[in-house]
């Protein structure tokens, strides 16, 4: 399964209303809940937070990729949030994070999980792409930008 197949307007939130890291994680999981992609909100949030506690998934250039494994999902799930104002996510370069790609996978789907994460890494290598997504007006524009890459 390609990352492109996971990207749809209902899993994109722009702008995120959260202003700190714990709230961002909760809001990203809530996106999946609202979209009908998950049922067990607590289990998914726990999986994401457990990984995040080991080390922040905040990368350079305003990108964060929180991820986790849980049996609460049966297939790979993606939520995408954009915070144009930036949020302190404890990133490597200490800069605020603006683009959040959250991936959740069942433990027996590690292959597609790893490939989707690798696709995100390749996508965000383009600073122009990241700037365009971070300044997108709505979910429709974000989806179009990603599918056009």
């Amino acid at each position: 399964m390609s990352l492109i197949d996971l990207v749809q307007e209902k899993i994109v939130r722009i702008p995120l209303v959260s202003t700190d890291k714990p709230d961002v994680l909760r809001e990203l999981v809530q996106i999946l809940k609202d979209a009908g992609e998950i049922e067990d909100y607590d289990a998914v949030l726990r999986a994401i937070c457990e990984r995040e506690e080991k080390l922040s998934t905040g990368l350079e250039n305003g990108i964060a990729v929180p991820h986790g494994k849980t049996e609460a999902v049966s297939t790979l799930k993606l939520a995408l949030g954009i915070a144009p104002q930036g949020i302190d996510f404890g990133s490597i370069d200490r800069q605020p994070s603006k683009l959040f790609f959250m991936l959740v996978a069942p433990p027996n789907q590690s292959g597609p999980h790893v490939e989707a994460l690798a696709e995100i890494v390749k996508l965000v290598q383009s600073k122009a792409f990241c700037r365009a997504v971070a300044s997108a007006k709505d979910a429709h524009e974000v989806v179009e930008l990603i599918k056009g890459e």
């Binding site: 399964m1 390609s2 990352l3 492109i4 197949d5 990984r51 080991k54 080390l55 998934t57 990368l59 990729v65 991820h67 494994k69 297939t75 490597i92 433990p107 027996n108 789907q109 590690s110 292959g111 597609p112 999980h113 790893v114 490939e115 994460l117 690798a118 696709e119 995100i120 890494v121 390749k122 996508l123 599918k147 890459e149």
Partner: protein
């Protein structure tokens, strides 16, 4: 008309790849062809994720261990599907870059048909299966319509 003598199906654990396996089993049965099922432990992607600092060292090892277990599980599942239809499967698990390992195995085994699951609806330059489809030297069959393929598999005597 020459028929396929050696068929390779790529399995990654997705529903699409299981549908591909069912289709490949049907074809191997019809054509009395050899069937190889391949799972690739994507160590290349995991190295990339480690470099990008998305993965921690112990996380990489954990995922690698999970993928080794997935490889056995899914290859065994394909084997069970094949045995039910009297088809034998050569199970192969490899490590590395997915598209490169598929391309290499096609050449090494002189495969004349690669069967893969349905691709993304939009072209993706980063999709490993799509890259393999474009790069292999043999013909490629993309299995679509899970329900129809399942019925074809079920009707196979």
């Amino acid at each position: 008309m020459s028929t396929p003598k050696k068929i390779l199906v790529y399995v990654d654990g997705t529903e699409q790849s299981i549908t591909a396996a069912q289709y490949a089993i049907c074809m191997a049965s019809y054509f009395r062809a050899d069937l190889i099922a391949l799972y690739v432990i994507n160590t290349k992607a995991m190295e990339d994720l480690l470099k990008a600092r998305i993965f921690l060292q112990d996380e990489q090892l954990e995922y690698e261990h999970d993928m080794e277990a997935d490889a056995q599980r899914y290859l065994n599942y394909v084997n069970e599907l094949a045995i039910k239809k009297g088809v034998s499967v050569i199970r192969r698990s490899r490590r590395g870059s997915v598209h490169k390992e598929i391309v290499n195995l096609v050449d090494e085994e002189n495969v004349d048909l690669l069967v893969i699951g349905e691709l993304a609806r939009i072209r993706s330059r980063y999709d490993e299966t799509e890259r393999a489809m474009r790069m292999v030297s043999c013909s490629v069959l993309i299995a679509k319509d899970e329900e129809r393929v399942w019925q074809m598999y079920e009707s196979l005597v």
